[in-house]
Symmetry: C2
Subunit: 118 residues, 2 copies
């Protein structure tokens, strides 16, 4: 990723929780190196929803709403993440083409509405 300025990074050892289901969420993350497992407690059982690999984004719903984390994210190996706070996100949005920004708003709104119905 071509990024300017100073990015906040965080490192995790294998097995470390990045966040836990039910936690309040303020940041999204980009996997710079390593891998992250997303686990959700369904009827008392831990179900792996997916693995997030290098370059991928997770935790992004924290940027568009105030709901608690819907799943737990855990480092599968030594992992470095780029932390995208709401503040950084807002700054990035301000520099974004208005059409793209409008599209992002519509998509976020659709996801919110569809999630309510689900």
């Amino acid at each position: 990723m071509a990024e300017r300025g100073i990015l906040e990074r965080a490192t995790f050892a294998p097995g470390d929780n990045i966040f836990k289901e039910g936690d309040p969420g303020d940041n999204a993350y980009v996997v710079q190196s390593g891998a992250v497992e997303v686990v959700k407690n369904i009827d008392g059982e831990n179900v792996v929803l997916g693995i997030i690999n290098k370059g991928a984004i997770f935790g992004e719903m924290a940027l568009i709403d105030d709901n608690p984390r819907m799943a737990t994210a855990r480092a599968l190996e030594g992992t470095t993440l780029i932390v995208v706070s709401r503040t950084l996100f807002t700054a990035k949005l301000a520099k974004t083409d208005p059409f793209i920004r409008g599209l992002l708003n519509i998509f976020a709104e659709n996801i919110r509405n569809m999630s309510k119905k689900a």
Copy 2:
């Protein structure tokens, strides 16, 4: 909207269809002036899903998938639209911050998956 370069525009008289349910779709639109009614045929009846006013975007799903239009869009009054083709969208995306671009991809993917389940 602060836009640079030459934008394609299209004008419609009251009652004109912009696109019809079932049409293939290649463009999204921004309402520059006027208003647009979105109508869907549900069990043989025309149901108004919403009114799109100045500054708002519609038809945006055409930019992310090849599905036919899910509803009809019709000018309610004399209406001027900014036409955003896939080509223009791709050019805008190329200039967008990689994190914002990644987010847009994730959201589009979520909407696609949720739509399949609905």
